[in-house]
């Protein structure tokens, strides 16, 4: 028998019980389509997050209070150990590779215990309130679109001026003019919160995110005004607490040098042996994000694999039933000269044909589901890259040829693994016993 003969024999056998074949296949179809869909979602999220992180600016470094363990972000509230004075000290060093420094304090946003809101004529929008310096624009490569950004004058006067993120502006004002209007910014939980009126002096450019919680949802006020008006972040030692210092490098290749030198400086200033701050470069953030994505992908693929195993058990079950039903056929085939290997091959090929056809259908179904999902459901992966939440989603489903081939390979492996035992049972049947069976 050539392999083609065996395949044709398998197809004839499978066609003779088409409903059962389809139901058996269903397990594999669901498993493989799950693999395709979930990996597409995972890959899409990963790609989206990576794009966003790159979009933050490639020569960016951050200093945050607290230490980082195991590559995770610093825990919120690990201590007020980073100050505006640190930023000024770094700036005073005139480091040759440093292009700019901007300290910032932050409240509100996802994960913050203190919600922040912007209120205009009874409408309110949740936001992340950022108190910062005029250099922020340049350091973060994020500029105003309308009006102006915070000025040195605003800083010295502790002015009650605010620059709105484009989403905040759109939500509160729509197409109306926002510049010169007065908005109320409230910080803190419920009635314990404090609120002050700020005058809108500018609106930021749109960073072009479609999902929620991004740079377009921030509002910016002068750092001293932020310090003065948000009482619960005041420092008892009279220093100015900041939640982040942004650094812009001239040259990315100086990253390591910068980290070493600034670490040294801050250790001396803070008089500590063990760092009470963390310097993270964009590549660190990227690798953290990749790590998170990898974990997510492992999770998604595990879910898909479990459904494949369930499908495989279904295959094994049906193949065992089939072997038992066709005992007589096996006896006849053996009587006319089929060897054990012929019978083994016949049933293995049957299992393989079911799983491979199931795998192909599963790939097709997975592609279809992905198409539908990308038009309807946002698959959001939100990663908090410090105060800036980086998210990806919407139609960010990425189908790679690798996963299509992997899906088909997985279905074949399922057929092999779960088909071998029934086939072996068939092959070792005694021909006399098999012929006697009704």
């Amino acid at each position: 028998m050539t392999l083609l003969d065996v395949v044709i024999t398998a197809l004839v056998a499978l066609r003779s019980n088409i409903l059962r074949t389809l139901l058996t296949m269903l397990g594999i179809i669901i498993g493989i389509s799950a693999v395709i869909t979930l990996t597409a979602a995972g890959q899409g999220a990963q790609q989206g997050v990576n794009d966003r992180i790159r979009g933050l600016g490639s020569n960016l470094m951050f200093i945050r209070p607290g230490t980082v363990k195991n590559g995770a972000g610093p825990l919120p509230g690990t201590g007020p150990s980073l100050f505006l004075e640190d930023a000024n000290a770094i700036n005073a060093q005139n480091l040759p590779y440093l292009d700019g420094v901007a300290a910032q304090g932050t409240v509100g946003g996802a994960g913050s215990p203190f919600p922040a809101q912007v209120i205009y004529r009874g409408q309110n929008v949740s936001t992340t309130l950022v108190g910062t310096e005029p250099t922020y624009q340049f350091v973060r490569d994020f500029y105003v679109d309308e009006g102006r950004f915070l000025s040195d004058d605003d800083i010295t006067k502790k002015a009650l001026t605010v620059v709105l993120g484009s989403n905040v502006k759109d939500k509160l004002f729509g197409s109306k003019e926002a510049l010169g209007e007065s908005v109320r910014i409230s910080v803190g939980p419920g009635r314990f919160g404090v609120g002050f009126n700020f005058t809108v002096i500018g609106v930021m450019e749109t960073k072009g995110a479609t999902s929620t919680n991004n740079q377009d949802d921030l509002v910016f006020v002068p750092l001293p005004s932020f310090q003065a008006r948000v009482p619960f972040i005041r420092n008892p030692r009279g220093l100015t607490n900041v939640s982040q210092i942004n650094l812009k490098l001239k040259d990315k290749s100086k990253e390591k040098e910068a980290v070493l030198e600034i670490t040294d400086l801050l250790r001396k200033r803070h008089n500590v042996n063990e760092d009470d701050f963390t310097i993270q470069s964009q590549s660190d953030v990227l690798s953290t994000a990749t790590e998170v994505d990898r974990t997510l992908n492992v999770l998604l693929v595990s879910i898909a694999l479990i459904s494949l195993i369930v499908g495989g058990i279904g295959i094994m079950n049906i193949m065992l039933v089939s072997v038992s039903e066709r005992t007589r056929e096996i006896g006849i085939r053996k009587a006319v000269g089929a060897k054990r290997t012929d019978i083994l091959l016949q049933f293995m090929i049957e299992a393989l044909v079911v799983t491979i056809i199931g795998g192909l259908l599963g790939v097709a179904l997975g592609l279809g589901i992905t198409q539908v999902l990308s038009r309807t459901i946002d698959f959001n992966l939100n990663l908090l890259v410090w105060e800036t939440e980086v998210s990806a989603g919407g139609n960010a489903y990425v189908i790679t040829p690798f996963w299509i081939l992997a899906g088909i390979a997985m279905s074949a492996v399922t057929g092999l693994v779960f088909g071998v035992y029934p086939a072996w049972r068939a092959a070792r049947l005694d021909p006399i016993e098999a012929l006697r069976r009704e």
């Binding site: 028998m1 085939r333 053996k334 006319v336 000269g337 089929a338 060897k339 021909p431």
Partner: protein, 253 residues
Amino acid sequence: MAQKTAIRLRHIAKVYKLGSQEVHALRSVDLEISNGEFLAIMGPSGSGKSTLMNIIGCLDRATSGTYELDGINVSHLGDAQLATVRNRRLGFVFQSFNLLPRLTAIEQVAMPMGYRGVTNRKQLAKVALNLVGLGSRMHHRPTQLSGGQQQRVAIARAIVGNPTLILADEPTGALDTKTSHDVMEIFRKLNEDRGITIAFVTHEHDVAAYTRRIVSLRDGEIVSDVPNVPSYEQQHSPAAPPPIAAPRTEHAS
């Protein structure tokens, strides 16, 4: 007819273990079958004739003794080698036809040739089907064929590989009288016209009546081995069907 020995059994014994008990299905059977012979192996239930058929058919191995098929000692061959021997040298015809329900007649007949790796197997299957007079029903499935036609497909499947010996296990047991005669006629013609060696395993005397030699078994031993004059020759009329009540053949003891 060539008198070369097709089958030679020497002191063949078969012992089954049923729990602690030993059942002697065959006790020292000696039997030779020459090419071109047409014989019946008879005996009541439990006489060991099925066991003997399984051993001759290379479906089972004897506990002791030697078995030569076409001069080859097959007593100690492995499973795969026995499968090859069955495929190349033996043909089986069963009481219940044992056709595969999904396959057409020509596919049934071609199947053994598939395991032999022959490429023109459909061709060979056609020839075999024509020999049994089923040339017009090659593409029918078993459910579309009568019992007699099904058995003829099975006979075609047995002869397609040009075997040394056809083993038929009560081939008319499931057929009515008229059809039985038709099927037996086919066997007789295959034996007489084409010299195919045929051994029936049966307990029916009207089947045995067609043959030229009758071997009787009882309690695992050959109790008689006598020539037989086929009943249709007694009537000097080869075309006429033989009487269904066959003449009794004598038994030793």
